[in-house]
Subunit: 305 residues, 2 copies
């Protein structure tokens, strides 16, 4: 059986693309199952409950040689431990290409807003495979989540066309209203610990001058994060030490106002971020207007550094 999973600290796109692609393959009589590399966030839980789909089983390791399909990621650091011992047979993603293989495999990347956009368009629609209401619903939710309801600069025309088709099948009549529900679920963090907050959507990158982590908190309630500044700064410094990193950036993205506030693990990182993104101080954080996409706006700048 092929094990399908997205990245660690899974977001809605990672979970829903794994579930939908397993459904697609099962319909071609291919034995495949979705898994999660970590617990589901509130938004993803809301989505799966809303459309009546069971949460995938969580795993953190697999026996050597297991056939796996990577969705929504391809960097080793973001994948399951000891990925090199597994048999990667396919990758579907919308991030930078960062993996090498020792045999020819199936690879499908498109520079679109979500992995679910690719699965909907290139798998279901192009192959005329029937899409049920729940699967269309979770594909749509992930698309809306990853593109921040089409506000992220990662959004393409294809995302909008696919969302239109999916919302009909999913019977989501008012997409804006549904998006607000989604973002409120995303922003409902309850009594989350500071470490969990930082790790909500946290990815590690090997840049030229060192290994950095970048956590983002996409929210309709930036104040929730800003109010925890002191605890966040302490935890970022601790994590930098314990994970042996060159630095950590934690960016609170205000989805509705399309702006962001960043905290970092130290003065050097503060200075670096300020220089790279022309940040200004606002609400005691490094404020940048319109900086809302880690993938399209933050990571490329670090890579060119």
């Amino acid at each position: 059986m092929k094990h399908i999973f997205g990245h660690k600290n899974p977001d809605t796109d990672s979970i829903c693309s794994a579930i939908a692609y397993a459904d697609f393959l099962n319909k071609q009589n291919i034995d495949a199952k979705a898994f999660a590399l970590g617990s589901l966030n509130k938004e993803t839980q809301f989505v799966l409950e809303y459309f009546g789909i069971e949460a995938p089983e969580q795993i953190d390791k697999l026996p050597a040689g297991t056939e796996v399909i990577l969705v929504d990621h391809n960097e080793e650091k973001q994948s399951i431990d000891k990925i090199k011992d597994l048999d990667i047979v396919e990758i579907i993603d919308h991030h930078n290409l960062k993996i090498e293989t020792n045999k020819p495999i199936s690879v499908l990347f498109k520079p679109v807003g979500s992995t679910c956009t690719i699965i909907a368009e290139e798998k279901y629609f192009k192959n005329n495979v029937e899409l049920t209401k729940p699967i269309a619903g979770i594909l749509l939710s992930a698309l809306i989540s990853d593109t921040l309801f089409f506000h992220s600069p990662t959004t393409t025309d294809i995302d909008k066309v696919v969302a239109e088709k999916l919302s009909k099948i999913a019977e989501v009549e008012n997409l804006e209203e549904f998006s607000l529900k989604l973002f409120n679920a995303k922003s409902d963090l309850g009594d989350i610990s500071v470490e969990k907050l930082i790790k909500l959507d946290y990815k590690t990158y090997d840049f030229k001058d060192g290994t950095y982590s970048i956590g983002v908190m996409e929210t309709t309630n930036a104040k929730f994060g800003l109010d925890k500044k002191e605890d966040i700064l302490i935890k970022l410094k601790e994590l930098k030490e314990s994970e042996d990193l060159s630095g950590i950036f934690f960016t609170i993205i205000d989805i509705l106002n399309e702006e962001s506030y960043t905290f970092t693990s130290g003065d050097t990182e503060d200075a670096l971020f300020t220089k790279l993104f022309s940040a200004v101080e606002k609400n005691n954080a490094l404020y940048v207007d319109k900086l809302i996409s880690r993938k399209k706006q933050i990571v490329p700048v670090f890579e060119k550094m």
Copy 2:
């Protein structure tokens, strides 16, 4: 305009996939054109003449920032010089994944017999884009050439189904007869120089213990290569020096008998090849029965070394 090209020392699959994909994109009103990274071999010349298609312009460099689409290759060493300065916007290939990108791009890899199989199936057929007789003809030719008329272990069921569909559109009634014409054109090397013979289909790889080149000569006339043994050995030693390589392997693949004869650039390489492939001496060369695919049988063994 997007520049589309296959690997250096282009083979029929590299040339035909570039031409066909340019045709496909032009039909979607996307400005694109095929180019060749080197002169065409006899087989490719035969194919283009047979189906009445003009040979693509040869290039060896492009201005920095030019938008390019790589087909049938993705390793830097096999691509145009200074590829890092160009803007790679898309890759279609059936080899191992060996490239990193600093932005999300379109990538389509399938573990099938030829890049032309992917272009036919995933581009023309799945999108219901009309395929003319000449384009179907060159796609079919490249598929037959790369799979050695379905004898290569790289052949999949998809290749056979696609070839069937293409031969109808290309009006090739007797596929076996056409394949023999193709292989005879491939084998008609006239008064080729020994260096050109070695470089007919020559690729350079970074393996763990050094950089090696592997040239293959796919032929219905192995004797033509075997008779040049002394000159080939001298030239292999020269090239190893001048190209600063750890070694060179030149494998004469007898297409019809499905066997191969290898010459190398020195005793160490002879011993290595003999050990890795359990070669025996026959016709004064390193003989291996059924060893006919560089991609599927030779390169993977070196990579595991």
